[in-house]
Symmetry: C2
């Protein structure tokens, strides 16, 4: 079972393999928020590309989350702060969601065999789930507006390390090797390592330090959101 | 003066800045071969995208180099082994060249303010040259068929480290930060670090270990090839 890492959705076409499972990664903060939402009882999420579509869901009475450039878009119910999803009122509910990068990555991978949502919050259960599937894996980093970003790549390295150490995965892929090296440098203090990353700086300006620290915490939410028929649901594990 | 790093020509559009200098990087082996050629007295090189164009040059009596997938294409005079260019017969000559990745990266950057050729073989003189220019820099890795590759990224990290340590460059760019981290892990033994990289394995199969070791040697060829009017010439330094 092979692992490949795609650093930006823009080049996903070079990696596409109809038999592989794609792990979508947008650590700050879409995939961390989605993982948190399911851990806190959200029933279903609808990934949406544009704000226009999101408005339509909102008009039809669906709870709708919308984030652009790190901030919640006015007029919607939620942004992509994970803390917004720790709310008993969302239990059993359907939430539509559109974000700057994460939901775009989900859309890019739509013809994969299976798409799962990865974050530090669910890394251990996710590794086991992927191992059971016995398929090749593509780690798809959402990046920032199609550019490489550090936190998604470091997570790809963390997950690849886990899969290769504990399970029978391997890689021939330079981006996976690079991600593993980055994780080696980062793992003793993720927050400190990512301190200079462009997105962490962007979010720090918005006073989101609490969000960042939470998103870099391991195994707080042992659930696996997967995409089925264009909807995000919780996998049975 | 800012540094950005673009890991593959396919996303160069996201980085393009008409005022910046682009450093094209294809360590194994196009930009190492080009640096070697000029150090050994080649007068001019013509970067060519397709084999068809290369055939036309050849027909017109121009010495022509053509490489695809690590091997010299039959019927041409040279491949992209740097050792092929250590030949007194090439002194003062014009050489047309097409390679799998390197010449494509040159073409992708064609509307930049200036394009220069980077390799470990000219890293010190190149850093000084770039510093004198007082412009933003884009480090454009040729990669492998539009995918990220390790040796080009490690070189980008080496050059960025040099520019930021000795000269007044800085970066806000996650890919530059990642490249610098990779170089930190690689610098004590480049050959060993790159041992598992996909392209090094590809070339090792072709028995090109001598080429690889040469391409990872610092400052053997203190010349700076630059692109002027679609031709590669030696900069006056």
């Amino acid at each position: 079972m092979l692992i490949e890492t795609c650093f930006t959705p823009q080049v996903y076409n070079l990696f596409h393999n109809p038999n592989a499972i794609v792990v979508v990664i947008d650590i700050l903060r879409a995939t961390s928020a989605i993982t948190t939402a399911f851990y806190n009882g959200v029933h279903k999420m609808l990934p949406v590309e544009t704000l226009e579509e999101a408005h339509n869901y909102k008009k039809n009475g669906i709870i709708t989350a919308a984030e652009r450039n790190g901030q919640m878009v006015e007029g919607f119910d939620l942004g992509n702060s994970p803390f917004g999803y720790m709310n008993a009122k969302l239990k059993g509910k359907t939430v539509a969601i559109t974000t700057t990068n994460g939901t775009q990555a989900i859309v890019a991978a739509k013809s994969a065999h299976e798409i799962v949502i990865g974050s530090f919050l669910n890394i251990a259960v996710l590794s086991e789930y992927l191992s059971d599937k016995k398929r090749d894996i593509i780690l798809l980093c959402a990046g920032w507006k199609n550019k490489f970003n550090l936190e998604d790549s470091v997570f790809a390295g963390a997950l690849a390390t886990e899969l290769m150490k504990k399970f029978s995965f391997s890689t021939h892929c330079d981006s996976t090797i690079a991600a593993i090296e980055l994780y080696k440098s980062a793992k003793y203090d993720l927050y400190d390592f990512l301190q200079n990353s462009s997105h962490q700086k962007r979010l720090a300006k918005l006073d989101l330090e609490r969000d960042i620290k939470y998103c870099l915490t391991l195994n707080q939410c042992p659930v696996i959101p997967i995409i089925k028929h264009n909807e995000i649901v919780k996998a049975e594990i």
